[in-house]
Symmetry: C2
Subunit: 697 residues, 2 copies
């Protein structure tokens, strides 16, 4: 479709800032191949290129077909069958890894009742049912029917059968409800109809309940997902757009990880909270519906939610390639496995790429051609859709080991969001599928860029929220993390996300026909992610550019000065210590870059390399402070914790300022601003100290 052009881009990488720069260097002269890895061996560019060439679009397509053949909701038999598929692939004698194991956690999930389907109906005052919403999506391709397609529901919403007048509450934000109240609309006992977007899923019910609302409906608005198109002939299976009956499922839990075992792995013996006392579940019954139904709802509505909580076994699968030289340095690469229904895009497009990449590397490994310098850990996470559960439990169980040894975490969940064209490419370059042979780097920089004082125009990276399994790695453990995907051209569509997201229409046929015919975008993601993985696992010096981090700090500082400077000055709070700390970081980062350059020209001894790499690896850890945001579960990273405002700056400082703004001088809220500023200054000073020469204590 002409209006949805394709774009190669990398979305939402936080901390591997330097990699962007490095990805552009595909023209570096190739080194000669040394078959036996030694402790002096750097990344072998010939092997890298060979791997790039072997990553095969048609194999990714076959992977995706197999992965998305059946619905595979977390902990379902089909999900477990995929665990076996992964184990079989990763234990294959010809293309498997060194070892692969599944590990299982017992976690609290939420499902609709089979016996009593959730129901949304319109009644008249005497109780007659005038209209009932669909209880499942329309079976348009033969894949939306059958017992394994979970009906649309809001996971973790409590059961209940509220009824009341319907009130349209826009996105269900705090502001939306305040406006309704200001207009004199009685909210007590009503059913709020809200649309997806603007705030988290569960937050809509939290906001609603504060005003006495009895139940919440959430629908997907065609304006938000289909650029306004809503008729059947304009939507799937006639285009990639969401059909009228499509309903976005999702987890309505506020936090992530198993709800019963915060900060503890959900092993059978672990202490579990009483489910009745768990915080973070929606306070009132909530149900998602399609826009077809949403536009009919007008008056008195009955909502019947029969969701129930169940303790289920959910598996992660881990596949390992042992490092030849530094086996105690782990480069992690993962994606979740579970889907709401078939999940062809989310998450199988990522897993299909993962399997192709592990096949190519496994084959080299089994042939004895190659073994990485550092260990590679491939992961297939369980129960992500319910709140990043598998990955979070993993970080809780292996907290110490990961903090000590993890170099980086690469996440490829939805690998391709948008349509692509297939193109031939000159050898040695990764093509950006739709853009006439531009390299990934050139394509990337074309759509997402920023101006660097050092390098000029460079690709820009988004920041990492909690949208996929990278969240516990970056926020809880302080491990440099990256999320990679090809997305669509946002100048051509305003879709909030790809339209069939979390619906029964996210199928293999949808991907094959509309998202990436020919799978060249998938192949490009495989090459991009593979290249990042290889560079992290094989480079003598870790490809982490600390000066880029300095640029981010500088931009955060400037934003703080511009947006908060006057306010802080009025309250006699000086930003000078923060300025000094940023300057120290920049100085230490620049000097470290020079030391690396100098060492690269010499023949560094292996311990010198290791010491320097430890500085690079542990930099991200220095930004963690578990006491910084005690109210924000799992968030300890002082730079990437959630921000309430829209300005890209230091989150703790910005949030504290926005809370203090309307309080009086000397209030606890202003003390908290000062505390947050000190926490930040100490973290930045600590980060700078980590980058300085190790012998200068």
């Amino acid at each position: 479709m002409k209006w949805v052009n394709v774009l190669g881009g990398i979305v939402g990488a936080a901390a591997l800032l330097g990699l962007g720069i490095i990805l552009g260097h595909f023209a570096i002269p190739k080194g000669s191949y040394v078959p036996t890895p030694s402790i002096f061996q750097d990344l072998d560019l010939e092997i890298l290129e060979s791997i790039m060439q072997q990553l095969d679009a048609s194999r990714i397509r076959e992977n995706l077909r197999e992965l998305s053949r059946e619905p595979h909701l977390a902990s379902s038999p089909q999900d477990e069958a995929l665990v076996q598929l992964l184990l079989q692939r990763w234990r294959d004698p010809e293309s498997g890894l060194d070892s692969a194991e599944a590990s299982t956690y017992e976690v609290l999930l939420s499902f609709p009742s089979r016996e009593q389907p959730n129901r949304v109906a319109v009644g008249d005052p005497t109780g007659n049912v005038l209209f009932s919403c669909r209880q499942s999506e329309q079976n348009l391709t033969g894949e939306q029917g059958g017992p394994d397609v979970v009906p649309p529901y809001a996971a973790y919403a409590p059961p209940g059968t509220p009824q009341g007048l319907l009130v349209y509450a826009n996105q269900g934000t705090e502001e939306d409800f305040m406006k309704l109240q200001a207009q004199g609309i009685k909210l007590e006992g009503t059913i709020a109809l809200t649309r997806y977007g603007g705030t988290g899923r569960g937050a809509k019910a939290v906001n609603a309940a504060k005003h006495g609302v009895a139940g919440v409906l959430v629908y997907t608005d065609p304006a938000d997902i289909n650029d306004g198109q809503s008729s059947t002939n304009e939507t799937f299976p006639n285009s990639w757009r969401l059909p009228p009956s499509g309903v976005e499922r999702g987890s309505y839990y506020e936090y992530f990880g198993d709800p019963l075992t915060p900060y503890l792995p959900a092993n059978p013996s672990s202490f579990r909270l009483d489910p009745d006392t768990v915080s973070g579940f929606p306070p009132i019954p909530t149900q998602p519906i399609g826009f077809e139904d949403a536009k009919i709802l007008l008056c008195q509505v009955n909502v019947s939610v029969y969701n129930r909580l169940e303790l289920r076994n959910s598996s992660n699968v881990l596949g390992i390639i042992r490092g030849a030289v530094e086996p105690d340095r782990y480069v992690l690469y993962g994606n979740h496995r579970d889907s709401w229904v078939h999940g062809a895009v989310d998450p199988s497009s990522g897993t299909a790429v993962l399997l192709e990449l592990s096949r190519v590397l496994g084959t080299l490994l089994k042939k004895g051609t190659w073994r990485p310098r550092r260990s590679i850990v491939f992961a297939s996470w369980g129960a992500e859709e319910f709140g990043l559960i598998g990955s979070t439990e993993f970080t809780e169980e292996f907290f110490s080991k990961l903090q000590e040894r993890a170099v980086a975490y690469i996440n490829v969940d939805i690998s391709v969001f948008g349509v692509s064209l297939r193109l031939n490419s000159p050898p040695g370059q990764i093509p950006a599928p739709s853009l006439g042979g531009l390299s990934i780097y050139d394509n990337w920089i074309r759509y997402f860029n920023r101006s660097s004082p050092v390098y000029g125009l460079v690709p820009s990276l988004g920041s990492l929220g909690a949208g996929s399994d990278y969240a516990p790695f970056i926020h809880f453990l302080g491990i440099s993390s990256m999320d990679i995907a090809y997305t669509y051209d946002r100048s051509k569509t305003s879709a909030r996300i790809y339209p069939t997201y979390h619906t029964a229409f996210d199928t293999f046929g949808y991907v094959d026909k509309f998202v990436d015919p020919g799978f060249s975008s998938h192949q490009a993601v495989a090459r991009t992610a593979g290249s990042v993985l290889l560079r992290l696992s094989d480079s003598l010096f870790l490809p982490l550019n600390v000066s880029d981090y300095g640029e981010t700090l500088r931009s955060f500082l400037q934003a703080a000065q511009q947006n908060l400077g006057v306010l802080l000055e009025q309250h006699s709070i000086s930003l000078v210590p923060l300025v000094t700390a940023v300057e120290k970081f920049e100085g230490a980062a620049g000097a470290l870059d020079q030391r690396i350059s100098a060492l690269q020209k010499a023949t560094p001894d292996p311990l010198q390399v290791r010491m320097l790499n430890d500085q690079l690896m542990l930099l991200e850890r220095t930004f963690l402070n578990p006491r910084a945001f005690p109210e924000e579960r799992y968030y300890s990273h002082v730079l990437w914790a959630p921000r309430t405002g829209s300005v890209a700056t230091f989150p703790g400082l910005a949030n504290a300022c926005s809370r203090a703004m309307n309080t009086s001088l000397g209030s606890p809220a202003w003390a908290e601003v000062q505390r947050q500023l000190s926490i930040l200054v100490v973290a930045l000073e600590g980060a700078a100290a980590t980058l300085r020469p190790v012998a200068d204590f």
Copy 2:
């Protein structure tokens, strides 16, 4: 004096458990000397022995004389003069270190008023003063007079002038006040007279205030400190015993670190709490007195406390020897510098040893004879007496760097508690001064031992509380720590501590005449601490024995099973996961020991050594959980956090059990028991995971 025989022992080392074993190996055949350190160089036993021989008792004596010549209360001009002395020594061209710097924090200290001395007086009901306590100690040696001898006071006790009937409240524990109340004694508005011991200094006032007590006096009972002797001819200067006028000063602050900047370094720009809202200060006026006065106090007492809080600059001094091979691995060795008065024993006996050790090492360094494999950081901490302030601020400021790189922290504060005899010793052995040529090891094992299932009888180590500057290192940062001292024979005296502790009688003459004439015990401490330091900084493999840690865990487990097993079973809480975790730790530790042995026989490559040492170094870190004890400021170590009960077992579990014991099934207190058990299991599993082969994720 016959009844105070001497004993060589090491008190209170927690985590360097393996070193005990290693200290016994002084008879290992000597290696040949390699002048240029290479990455394969192990500890050179010839150099070690040469260092042992050069540690000179008479120089230690001279150091002590100089250090304790004048009172040097934290932040006083005399304390600052000692900062200059340390800098001069550590920058000496012939015996200095690579570099030395002082760094200053601005911290909240507490002092008595010069204008209005604190006063304790007995009055009759009409207000006439019948008797006044001494406001300073008797000037017995000419050193107890003068403006620089701070009068006895309770640091951080609030000012106030309460008066009321005197009630004798024993040690001022919660139990003591409960007993008085049970006897029908009215406590409201009284002055409680308590003796030192049984509970922390500040806790006496906290307990008293709960019963409405208006003021607290604390005296040193001759039964606790002088084996009952109290007359002037039986006490100093006629013996080492405390004279009647002696008063123990001390900090009455409940926590440690600067009270205004918990978890933040007390840099000028750091956020500071409002002093009026600080928790942890005694709630009511409190004053220490001597036993001479204590026995006179009988009736209505007026207490006038005029202490005031002051922000002061307090310095740490750091001296560095850069490591030749692994400069990013730090072995820290420290002691505080500040004293209450002259502080000859506390802390100058430790600093005198520190200076002698740094002189000998500095001399080798300047000659080019030796440079350690790892970096050595010598530290002289400020304001320890007020609550470990200098060391705590240091750990707050360099949190990340220390967690990443510190191998161990060695503390030598009071280096010699007791009297010693001087003996000659055969070469190559460190004599235990009073015991006829027994080695330190043999002497140690004679007085403090335990039975190891692996090694048979071995020296035993105490566990580390918060008595000196090791506390923030072990509890807050999880750095393996050790406290070394020679103490007196506890079968010969029941003194709670050496008698002149924190009084104006702790002078050079006191040490020279009574504590260690000839300074051979000081020399033995220098040799012991020096040997530990060298072994940590120079050994190819870190001398940390992880199997010994396993023995501690096993003994904690057995104690838990014996003391808590039945109770837990009654509440359906199983210890099986804990048993399994301890077994996993033991298995992993044993296997690691074997790998080290095997590697030591081969020629390990430098990265293999480094990887293994990282496992050893980071083991202690795996026991940290900042969310385990949120109420216990700075305490994050799940094995060494404070325990309320007397059984040596896992503190979190034991404390939670004792709180839950009398609550009903299903109470939050029982949930907390289960949470603590899970926290412990996860920490031990994480520790075992850190010890397992690094390539087996």
